[in-house]
């Protein structure tokens, strides 16, 4: 019984319910929303943002944040384009690894400033948001390559981005693999549990002998590598790259993570929740034009959905805290 309640009160379930409602309403209005192609599109649209959300969750759990994700993603997407300009036959795997390496390097830069120089992550990554984007623009104007088009990339890279296995897009498979690994590591590995401890109470974590600096640094590097991967996937998915790829993505990612129930002040939340949050938000964005919401209102509805999710969450949390307090006082009496 208590186990059932534990599962039911889980944040993931409420997101799944919200998702079911959105999909059901939209499908009622337009049945093709849920045909094979429709489901394919839903997962495809959420895959890249889900990868970013997994990386962001690792950081938010430790009471950190990375606002530079959009810029890092833009930089790695642009890198993959440049690699194809240098040699159109560059193997896909080389591009993917190079993108992840560049992303990890950007993450290491952020991580070093946060973990070693002890500057708050919000400040560091707000700074690098502009620095990395500046490098991206600088690179584009120095080489005079403002845009890289589909016909300049290798056909295998493009079909990698748009292809699928048994109806599941490659991008979604990659996001799922990342999700499973991250969820397992966070749940079972000692270092994974330590990330929660660091976010829950940094002082206590340090006193307990957890190497907080090293763990946070590693989280930044891993998150950076995932962002780098997302950038390369963006390139292969859209087939058109310029220096502004990923602009504004940081807010969408933080929104997905928060909607997914990861506490913004660290210490709790799961990657599964964050990925479901990403899926919910992109599904809403995809459903609005089908429901016929006028273009001018779509963003407002997006924002309202976010506010609603957070307020509901807050209300539930307050009630839960109240109940726990009552139970405790009863026990004491």
């Amino acid at each position: 019984m208590s186990r059932l309640r534990e599962v039911l009160s889980g944040r993931e379930l409420s997101i799944v319910l919200a998702l079911v409602v959105v999909v059901a309403v939209t499908t009622a209005v337009n049945p093709s929303f849920l045909n094979a192609q429709g489901v394919h599109d839903l997962f495809l649209n959420a895959s890249i943002i889900a990868l970013l959300a997994i990386g962001q969750t690792l950081l938010v759990i430790t009471r950190n944040i990375d606002l530079s994700v959009g810029s890092v993603m833009g930089l790695t997407a642009y890198l993959s384009g440049q690699m194809f300009i240098a040699d159109q036959g560059t193997p896909t795997i080389v591009v993917v690894l190079a993108g992840m390496a560049l992303g990890a390097a950007c993450g290491a830069f952020n991580g070093a400033l946060v973990a070693i120089a002890k500057v708050p992550a919000l400040v560091v990554t707000l700074g690098t948001l502009y620095v990395f984007r500046g490098i991206d623009y600088g690179w584009a104007s120095a080489t005079g390559v403002h845009q890289i088009n589909a016909d300049q990339m290798s056909p295998s890279f493009l079909s990698f981005g748009s292809g699928s296995v048994l109806g599941i897009p490659h991008l979604t498979l990659i996001a799922l693999v990342a999700l499973v690994i991250a969820a397992y590591a966070l749940h079972n590995w000692r270092s994974g549990r330590e990330l929660y401890a660091i976010g829950s109470n940094p002082h206590a974590a340090r006193l307990a002998g957890i190497p907080a600096g090293r763990r946070v640094f590693t989280a930044f590097v891993l998150s950076g590598a995932l962002v780098g991967l997302a950038g390369v996937l963006h390139a292969s998915y859209f087939g058109t790259i310029n220096a502004s790829v990923g602009t504004g993505k940081e807010l969408a990612v933080v929104a997905a993570v928060v909607v997914g129930g990861v506490a913004i002040f660290g210490g709790s939340g799961t990657v599964l929740g964050a990925v479901l949050g990403a899926l919910l938000l992109t599904t809403i964005t995809g459903a609005l034009p089908i429901l016929g919401v006028p273009a001018f209102w779509q963003r407002a509805v997006d924002g309202a959905a976010l506010l609603l999710a957070i307020s509901l969450d807050r209300a539930v949390m307050l009630r839960l805290a109240e109940r726990l307090r009552k139970e405790r006082s009863l026990r004491r009496a």
Binding site: N30, S32, F33, Q37, G38, D41, N45, R133, Y137, A140, H146, Q147, N149, A150, D151, Q152, L158, S162, G163, F238, G239, T240, N242, A243, S244, V245, T247, T285, G286, P289, I290, G292, A295, F296
Partner: protein, 362 residues
């Protein structure tokens, strides 16, 4: 002790007066330069009549301000413009904001005014948001030319239009009608809901559809992809899903048409739904070759920039003032007559298909 103090005082006085003299000289220099600029503005201001035989001044400083700095289409336009300016022995440069929001260009205009540029060539993100800053620039004697997307009529001297807006709108309908056999439902995938150029074309497209030969074509929806890849993708998906018998999508924006082409090329809709509109040959080459897109159109953006560059130089040199009927000499493009509301038209758009796409590289 006393002498040394006095000496120090004297030294201080000498330094101070030297500084004062220097400041005065600098001040005078500033004033002279300022009055020069003022007489210049009298020369090229709207009050003065045009002198068609005035020589193009050498060393003109002309700045190109696109909607956003990495807008691939406008980058090409600006390249053509800068080439024209260099041909006229001036210096051209391209500056611009990183996002295409309504007010993002204002601070750039103000900076260009402070830098005493001779002319500003702008593609306005919003006709009214940039108007006060541009009027301010014109008051200071800076020539203002708009291209691609017009600013308010009284906030610029000439508007260099790629093609007659009416021609563009009507030719889009003609192109799509030929490809779908003059019958069926079509939708438009535009940029932002408040883009001047897009909305004008869409109005003419709607007007063209009222003609009897297009009575079997229905425009069922106008969607907005905000010139963003992901948004354009999702809007395309929504169009295809919500209108099952959709015959064609017309996307008169380069970002929209390439995102839509990318989605359709890897979906079951490939070959079933016609996609056409305005795009660059480089962007669309892949999709023309794989059969997703049969035909689309665009004018040569480098020529557009070239024309805008010449117009800016002619304005700054007093050759033209932007009045209807004046003639602009535009180098290798020949002559163009200024039309109503200071509009100069480049010419009809070029249609690209599998046969000719490899002849173009932009």
């Amino acid at each position: 002790m006393i002498t040394s103090l006095q000496r120090r005082k004297r030294a201080a006085l000498a330094v101070t007066s030297a500084g004062l003299v220097a400041a005065l000289i600098a001040g005078c220099g500033g004033t002279t330069k300022g009055s020069d600029a003022a007489s210049d503005s009298g020369g090229s201001g709207t009050e003065k009549t045009a002198d068609p035989n005035a020589p193009i001044k050498e060393g003109l400083k002309i700045a190109f301000l696109p909607k956003e700095i990495d807008n691939p289409y406008e980058n090409i336009v600006d390249k053509g413009g800068i080439a024209a300016v260099e041909e006229l022995k001036g210096t051209g440069k391209e500056v611009g904001p990183s996002d295409a929001s309504a007010s993002s260009q204002v601070s750039y205009i103000n900076t260009l005014v402070q830098q005493n540029q001779d002319a500003i060539v702008i593609a306005a993100n919003d006709p009214n948001a940039v108007a006060p800053a541009l009027k301010d620039a014109m008051d200071k004697g800076i020539a203002v030319v708009s291209y691609d997307s017009d600013a308010a009529v009284d906030a610029r001297q000439v508007f260099v239009n790629q093609a007659d807006s009416e021609d563009i709108g009507r030719s889009q309908i003609k192109m799509v009608s030929e490809q779908i056999g003059g019958k069926g439902k079509i939708a438009i995938l535009s940029a932002t809901p408040n883009a001047t150029n897009q909305n004008t074309w869409i109005e003419y497209m709607k007007d063209e559809l009222t003609k009897p030969e297009y009575k079997d074509i229905q425009l069922v929806k106008v969607a907005y992809g905000d010139d963003d890849d992901q948004k354009s993708f999702q809007e395309t998906q929504a169009l295809l899903k919500s209108i099952p018998d959709l015959k064609a999508i017309v996307s008169p924006t380069t970002v929209g048409i390439s995102a839509a082409a990318r989605y359709i090329s890897s979906s079951p809709y490939k070959g079933k739904v016609v996609l056409t509109g305005l795009g660059t040959p480089n962007q669309m080459r892949q999709f023309v070759k794989d059969g997703t897109v049969k035909e689309f159109a665009l004018w040569d953006p480098e020529q557009l920039g070239y024309l805008a560059g010449y117009a800016a130089a002619a304005l700054a040199s007093g050759q033209i003032t932007g009045k209807e009927g004046e003639v602009l000499k535009a180098g290798e493009l020949g002559e163009r007559t200024i039309g109503k509301n200071g509009e100069i038209i480049l010419g009809p758009p070029t249609v690209f298909n599998a046969d000719n796409i490899d002849d173009y590289n932009f």
